[in-house]
């Protein structure tokens, strides 16, 4: 009965095997209970399901309920149907923030993808100090967005902007540029900062994808006479597409639901011209205490996010099926 068990000496497991009837001699109901695969899975998943249910599923359902009522701080309100959604739809600030959210997401994603891809291609080459360069490139993504956005806000300060100073000294401008005091300018500033922050994420993830592509393929293509531009579109891009799509989807969700960058940079101003859905929902729901109207505005994000997630899930399924 007793077998030598290499490497397991001294552990409780080896003692158990040495006994003639381990189960009978040491009845441990809990352990036996956990031998059942389904029960063990149930036990292991419970903490996760409880936490996610309590703080994601429950608030989500409650958000929908809240948006169908007329609740505000200190007033429980009553059921009003879709009135909040209709009211928001006809609200000019909402319309601006709705448009801004798409505009912001669209351009920021394009820039992040283009620059991130470029940077990934640069970092995929061999050069001295590569690890250090790669590590420092990721810094904008690590540092709390709120704190780095403050640095940008100071760089775009109406009176003391260093960008204005450089452009003035270089002779490009005579008067200061209205970085944050003009709505359209401020929106582009936010897009620049979002790109600055999110580009490293694209670059590093795409770099990981690039590193799985065999150099032999490039060698073969260049022997066939393809130049760098053709090699990128014929070899790199098709192989990189799956990673790219996942990264883009992830970034669209983050950018579409962005809050902190605008909150710190402009607070939605000047004259409510740079609000995103999230910052406007915060202004109504938290600052003005109109909980129901704020919740309704947040929920306007849902169809878009849902569509994006759905497309991604379908795409992943197709990849797995292939």
């Amino acid at each position: 009965m007793k077998r030598p068990i290499p490497g397991a000496a001294g552990s409780p497991a080896s003692i158990e095997v040495a006994l003639p009837h381990p189960r009978a001699s040491r009845p441990v109901p809990l352990t036996r209970f956990l031998e059942n695969e389904r029960l063990l899975a149930f036990v292991l998943l419970t903490p996760t399901v409880v936490l996610l249910g309590l703080f994601i599923a429950y608030p989500f359902v409650m958000g929908i309920w809240l948006s169908l009522n007329s609740t505000s701080v200190g007033n429980p309100g009553q059921f009003v149907g879709i009135k909040n959604f209709v009211k928001a739809w006809n609200d000019s600030i909402f319309q601006t923030s709705f448009r801004n959210t798409f505009f912001y997401t669209f351009w920021a994603t394009i820039f992040k993808l283009a620059l991130g891809m470029w940077l990934a291609l640069l970092l995929n080459r061999h050069f001295r100090g590569k690890r250090l360069v790669r590590a420092s490139m990721l810094l904008p993504f690590i540092i709390p967005t709120v704190l780095s956005t403050f640095a940008w806000r100071w760089m775009f300060d109406p009176t003391f902007s260093v960008v204005n100073w450089v452009l003035y000294q270089a002779g490009f401008i005579v008067n200061k540029l209205p970085f944050l005091s003009d709505g359209a300018w401020a929106m582009w500033c936010a897009i620049v900062i979002n790109t600055w922050r999110g580009m490293p994420f694209f670059a590093i993830t795409l770099l990981a994808g690039l590193q799985t592509i065999s150099p032999d393929l490039h060698e073969a293509a260049s022997l066939d006479g393809a130049n760098a531009w053709h090699r990128f579109w014929a070899v790199t891009w098709p192989l990189l597409k799956p990673v790219t799509i996942v990264v883009v989807v992830f970034s669209i969700i983050q950018t579409f639901a962005d809050f902190q960058l605008i909150y710190v940079l402009t607070g939605g101003g000047p004259a409510n011209s740079t609000h995103l859905l999230a910052t406007y929902a915060y202004q109504l729901g938290v600052n003005s205490g109109l909980l129901s109207e704020g919740a309704a505005i947040s929920l306007f994000m849902f169809p878009v996010l849902f569509a994006v997630v759905w497309i991604q899930l379908r795409y992943l399924r197709r990849l797995e099926g292939a």
Partner: protein, 283 residues
């Protein structure tokens, strides 16, 4: 390999890479230089002749001293650290258990559960903060660190589970089967055989989760109200700006010091962080 001319290498490689480096790092340099610049120099007209914005000849630590001695900044650092560590711990534990179950065990609805955990990963906090604030109030958690410690895992667990599940799948099943033949229980094999092998994956998930919780803003902004309970990002935004006046020296000192801990953690574990980052999207 493809042979290149020297000028081509400069135009297509060194110049763009240098520009990327400058663009990436300049805001951090600007934070640093502002933090050590005396006030008299800070607010000088942009057309002044003696204006030297890119360096200072009289660096000062006055802003930093002010920040540490006259504000509750040290307290915010501690709060952020405590909340980030505890919520990362909770998320790692949940992620380990759930990731193992989804990767290894057969049970009904496993696929559906995996998908729904992945989907919650994509639900942004900005969609939920208003009803969640209500729930936090009902649970009597408002203005306590627990409001954040319990809600941060909602965006950390899905990611940890996803990452660790991928990691567990790469560990050969035979290892576990050997242990079970030798008499280990399922739970024993999981804890003593699989978890130790998964340490690199756990580190990746942990580092990534830590930086995410250090970064979090909207929940901390909505759920906390007393100045001494705030986290660094919220404290800097709401307490260092008095009325409409921006004390840029102090603000930049706060931004810099608030970034140091997370940058340090990152710099020690760059490889793990990158593994977590790339793993988080590939699944």
């Amino acid at each position: 390999m493809v042979i290149e001319q020297r000028w081509k290498k400069w135009v297509f490689f060194y110049v763009p890479l240098t520009l990327f480096m400058i663009g990436t790092l300049f805001p951090f340099y600007w934070m640093l230089i502002t933090a050590v610049r005396p006030d008299a120099e800070l607010y000088r007209s942009w057309r002044a002749v003696n204006n030297t914005p890119f360096w200072t000849l009289s660096p000062t630590l006055a802003h930093v001293q002010d920040l540490l001695a006259r504000t509750t900044f040290p307290r915010w650092l501690w709060n952020t650290f405590f909340i980030a560590v505890v919520s990362t711990g909770i998320s790692l534990l949940c992620g380990l258990l759930a990731g193992y179950a989804l990767a290894r065990l057969r049970f009904p609805m496993a696929g559906m559960l995996g998908t729904s955990i992945f989907v919650t990963y994509l639900v942004p906090p900005t969609l939920l903060f208003i009803p969640l604030a209500d729930i936090i109030r009902n649970f009597q958690l408002g203005n306590t660190p627990w409001a954040l410690i319990l809600t941060y895992p909602t965006f950390l667990i899905p990611f940890c589970t996803w990452l660790l599940m991928g990691y567990f799948k790469t560990i050969p099943k035979e290892l576990e089967e050997c242990a079970r033949i030798d008499g280990a229980t399922r739970l024993g094999a999981m804890v003593r055989i699989i978890f130790p092998i998964a340490v690199p994956g756990i580190l990746s998930a942990g580092i990534f989760a830590f930086t995410l919780s250090w970064n979090e803003f909207i929940y901390a902004l909505v759920f906390l109200s007393s100045p001494e309970r705030k986290t660094v990002p919220v404290g800097v935004v709401s307490e260092l700006i008095r009325g409409d006046i921006y004390f840029w020296g102090q603000l930049m000192a706060g931004a810099l010091l608030g970034s140091v801990p997370v940058a340090l953690v990152y710099s020690f574990f760059v490889e793990y962080y990158v593994a977590g980052l790339t793993g988080s999207v590939k699944g």
